[in-house]
Symmetry: C2
Subunit: 334 residues, 2 copies
């Protein structure tokens, strides 16, 4: 493993992205995202993802110097056209207006269109909770999940993320999960290691349950939680697809045309302002949320993101570590 | 079984509620709800629920003549104080303002406070899709579900419902599910029939997995879909509890004080207007949602609510049927 400071990792990430042709602004936003992933030890969303950024660019599936355009769609809606760039800069561009609208209206939506997507949603959600707002985000991906009772890939792994701000500098309550039974990478890992996957993860091409990872990757993954997870995944297709005038996971996959690039689609983000919902009693009710969190922790259950926050603390003290091979691969891209 | 027309069933429901002391307006709203449940053959939310309305009133846990108060909280938020009555009339009172706000702002929230709750959320969601809007609703219940990894009841069965309007008079896409592994009534049914429950439904009082329905009813139910369902259930506690200045499921259970009445708490409902999100291209993108629905149906998967719509059609032709014993019990309450 190669150890380095977050600062050195940032320099490396920026050097790769710049050298490969991303504009300065795109480079900064992308680099911040992969560094945050690496810092929290979400390795698949860390420096490793730079390889994916680069291959998506090489496939001609992302605009490396896109300048997002912000539109004031309605009193409660801000729309950002990412212009074919990665989602990060578009989110950054829309966040101030989303926050202002949420503080004024109580609730507001940010619709990002025409973006290429690879990052975990918790990063965006944490930017919202940092402003004292409640956040919810979701997006389609590429069609690879069969609806419950079906046999063919139609839905994406469609992540859903939620965040709640906490007082006194405490890390926010944030969850971020795929609506598929597992991440696609988990099945790929089983294939590489030649291990069968558990029941309930996927179907073969004929739509039959299979525990062979290669067959499932050719067939369809399954949603988490049966028909309930399937319903949620469908909801995400609708509200982060047609509702915001953008692609479904099936359309995103068709757009990819076997390039194997990151999904191209839209993203829906909601923000709600507790101060606007609660007025003078906001502190009183936010304290009740803290009671709920204590009741979860005290019975030995973990709050979501706990592992990430522990990793973040570790990174603060020890820096990060990535495989030497990955390090060398990145250096060659600079 | 006793067969009757929907009209006769309505007369019976209204007679029971009126005779037991509900005001005319409360009676009308409650009766509409149980009749809609019966019509769609959701028997536990049909005429059977009248017994629950009556016992909740007898326990002094609902105000039978409450007159909801509507407050314009913010440009994007309408708040309705149900004044301790059942939720239905409060929802009715708030709906026009919610719809007007959604059409103007693009997205709006309806927060119902201080309501007693028993009905399925799809009824409210369908009222929203009938207006051409996208709807989302959720509420806490009574604490009976342990968070994933925990051992004690803390979360409610916390339902989540979503609806999407469809063109040409087609029934809307609506789902409505509990974030617990199953409904509590399902476990009670197993206890009555002396049958073990499947793994994954619940824990005994010591927090150990149990397949004994009686032990689980004394212990804790489990969320659906492991930590993902648990995270969703927690989100619902937060956004339909503290965020709107109302009770969590644990607080609702404490308020009940062993009376066994329906939960007392708040409810959060969101509405989004496709026309405001999409402007002139609304029809184009709503057609893409139809393509998604076709792709689900064509591979043999069912759209949620399909069974209800089929039952509704059956009722239209044949009327409803309830057990003779239930009929007699209801007649005695008139």
């Amino acid at each position: 493993m190669r150890r380095m400071s977050l600062e050195d990792a940032t320099v490396l990430a920026e050097a790769v992205l710049n050298r490969q042709g991303f504009s300065q602004e795109q480079t900064r936003a992308l680099s911040q995202t992969v560094i945050a992933g690496q810092r929290d030890e979400c390795h698949s969303h860390g420096l490793y993802r730079l390889l994916n950024c680069v291959s998506t660019l090489a496939a001609g599936k992302v605009v490396p110097d896109a300048v997002p355009e912000v539109h004031d769609q309605a009193p409660g809606i801000v729309r950002v056209d990412a212009k074919g760039g990665f989602s990060q800069l578009a989110f950054e561009a829309g966040l101030p207006k989303l926050a202002a609208k949420a503080r004024n209206q109580g609730i507001a939506a940010l619709a990002i269109n025409h973006c290429v997507h690879f990052s975990a949603l918790w990063i965006e959600i944490e930017a919202i909770t940092d402003l004292g707002l409640v956040g919810l985000a979701c997006n389609p991906t590429h069609a690879c999940v069969a609806p419950a009772g079906g046999s063919q890939p139609l839905l994406g792994t469609n992540p859903l993320a939620f965040g709640w701000p906490r007082p006194d500098g405490q890390s926010p309550f944030i969850f971020d999960f795929a609506t598929s039974a597992v991440a696609r990478g988990e099945i790929e890992l089983h294939r590489r290691e030649n291990k069968p996957i558990p029941e309930g993860w996927g179907l073969d091409r004929a739509g039959q349950p299979s525990q062979d990872p290669a067959e499932v990757l050719e067939g369809a993954m399954l949603p988490f939680g049966g028909h309930k997870g399937s319903a949620l995944g469908t909801m995400i297709e609708l509200i982060a697809g047609p509702l915001i005038g953008d692609l479904t996971s099936a359309e995103s996959l068709a757009h990819d045309d076997k390039a194997g690039a990151s999904p191209y689609h839209g993203e829906l983000i909601l923000a709600m302002d507790p101060a606007r919902f609660l007025g003078g009693s906001a502190a009183h009710y936010m304290a009740k949320a803290e009671t709920l969190f204590s009741s979860i922790s005290e019975q030995g259950a973990r709050l979501p993101s706990q592992r990430r926050y522990e990793a973040r603390e570790r990174t603060r003290q020890e820096g990060i570590a990535i495989p030497e091979a990955l390090y060398q691969e990145l250096v060659q891209l600079t």
